[in-house]
Symmetry: C2
Subunit: 429 residues, 2 copies
Amino acid sequence: MRGSRRSDARGAIGVDPVVARLVLKFGGTSVATVEHIARAADVIARQREGGHEIVVAVSAMGDTTDRLVDLSSQISRRPARREMDMLLSSGEQVTAALLAMTLLERGIDAVSLLGHQVPFTTNSTHGRARIADVGHERLELELGAGRIPVVAGFQGVDEHGEITTFGRGGSDTTAVALAAAIKADECRILTDVDGVYTTDPRVVPEARRLERVTFEEMLEMASLGSRVLQIRAVKYAGKYNVPIRVLHMSGEGPGTLITFEEPDVESPVVSGIAFNREEAEITVTGVPDRPGAAAALLGPISEAEIEVDMIVMNAPREGCVDLSFSIGRADFDQAMEIVREAAAGLGVGDVLGNDRAVKISVVGVGMRSHAGVATRMFETLAREGINVRMVSTSEIKISVLVEEKYLELGVRSLHEAFGLERTGNGSDQ
Amino acid sequence: MRGSRRSDARGAIGVDPVVARLVLKFGGTSVATVEHIARAADVIARQREGGHEIVVAVSAMGDTTDRLVDLSSQISRRPARREMDMLLSSGEQVTAALLAMTLLERGIDAVSLLGHQVPFTTNSTHGRARIADVGHERLELELGAGRIPVVAGFQGVDEHGEITTFGRGGSDTTAVALAAAIKADECRILTDVDGVYTTDPRVVPEARRLERVTFEEMLEMASLGSRVLQIRAVKYAGKYNVPIRVLHMSGEGPGTLITFEEPDVESPVVSGIAFNREEAEITVTGVPDRPGAAAALLGPISEAEIEVDMIVMNAPREGCVDLSFSIGRADFDQAMEIVREAAAGLGVGDVLGNDRAVKISVVGVGMRSHAGVATRMFETLAREGINVRMVSTSEIKISVLVEEKYLELGVRSLHEAFGLERTGNGSDQ
């Protein structure tokens, strides 16, 4: 059904010219104003050419969610989660109604639906509810009647009829879950970029749009702060085998297809260079080399719900080790305080902090079968005089923590070293 | 249970000091900002002193509904009614969530509820749905658990799970219906005035707040444009015997109680002077005095859904009559066009229009048993040189149409003639 075929016509990218089922998701930027909503309606009208069946998922308009969060934070530092869900879910409701109105005004039959009307049944964890079931009867009924369901994203309903939400970016999850429920041929995420790139084009102008990327790679990139897709949506898509296509909100261009298919032998070893600017590192020197010492330092950190990413301990010397770990920059001050206290309790050496670190990662499913990626990565960085402070690896990713000042140089040199630039060995453009 | 007792303590006006059930309704002005919502929470906290059980109904914040209507009108001149309900109902949802949050932040247990969660079951007439049933189980459950249900006003749900709304001012109806469902002792409408007055204090500074007013009188005043209470809410309250108290949003003062009780013999004959500025009149001269001629003129008006209020026809002279009728000023231009066309078709005389008319009404259940109200009314107006152009009467109301320039003079002289001023025969203040 799906292939690597190029865009042959508007609205029929990569999908056979028979009638297809498509879910289209419009993010907050693409529905920020009534004019944006009109343009979204244009895109929907084009995408359904050829008789395709369309279900739409929408986010709240522009900064609506931020404004509602701001109101709540004037009331409480920790507003009741149930009431936050009640509050925030109103944003998507407004967009769904306005977009349905716009479609109807053009003679395109449409109907807005809220989370409890579809329904999206979830557990009761307000603020980050998990979807238990998506009803498809109402959707099938509307599609059968020739209508376009315009579904308010981000929201569901628990077994008691309470409104729940899926957390920030939850409309991506809505779209993917809708696609799974109606067995859509593709879930198309319309956004402000025209696809997934080998790296951020603002850092490397030669960055190239990927024609396709695997779910595993996308997960690694999403977790590294690539803002194209919410990580939960990608996981959900993987679970239900939903093909996702990321494309520009204009609906033009083939975008990037996120597939389950393993790359063939000719695929590049490395697909992209991801990075995350907001890192920090903490090092404790002179930690006694005995069981429990590291736990005594890191335990209070995880108790404070601060996520520790990389951890490095050097070989013991004179009965002591140095312990280093990386955390998100926003948690730096709190983490320093906690570690200083814990270190004082242990009576160990110095606590050193650096909140100007960044993480650069080389990602690619091809590196499973290819040795030498790490070697090339370290050689490249060394050649540029970039000191690697920590390393972590997964099956399809190697990440290094470096000084913030080396971010652009590091990303650019790795992008070139792995031949990712526009005129390189890529298959696209 | 309820008496004419004065306010003895904050939150216990006119209600026995045993535990009472109260519905409190906050309009858009009283929840316009987070600061207003905080003040509403203060009022709720005081009103529940003594262990009273409270259910709250809220409108959308400030001009939210207007802003949403404006968005929809950018999309369509006649937006789909179902989608309008989906759109507008989000406004009350936001207020309910923010107010519940505010109460919770102060340690007052509260829970916001939407129309479909109560539920308010309605017919499917989007935009002006009629309530078929209000479920009390959920409300009783919340009250039993010591929680304050904060209900989003103005909205219900039809048998298909579609969101419906009750029309402008529908939150009053929500409040009254809630009071009926939980058999509340009083439904308190908190608004920007401190009660119902003998007339508009901006026109007559001596206007006096009424301690009580009957439902019949309130209906006449509401239909005359007194903006204190939505007419449908008053009708609903009459049907279910729900006592309503209109009071200031600060919760201070006894306000005005709207009762079913017939006034005793010592009650004043006239309770108030109501008026409506937005009137217009049309006169057709030389209409043939034969069956169907008047219908041929007025028929097209009602077909255009223009409401005709007063109609006057003089005695025939030379086989002809003059036909005059009054309409709302907003319909004047359209009505003139229609009547000119109809008159041309009939080949009758002139069509004269005046869009600077106003209606003044004397209202009071006491006039049922007292003759002479009309006489005193006409004498008073004649003494001031005010020409009465049309008259209409009901059992408890006499209305006259006069030139706009006489509005203030007419209202003031009638207010005085019927002894309604502050130091007059009233029982209050």
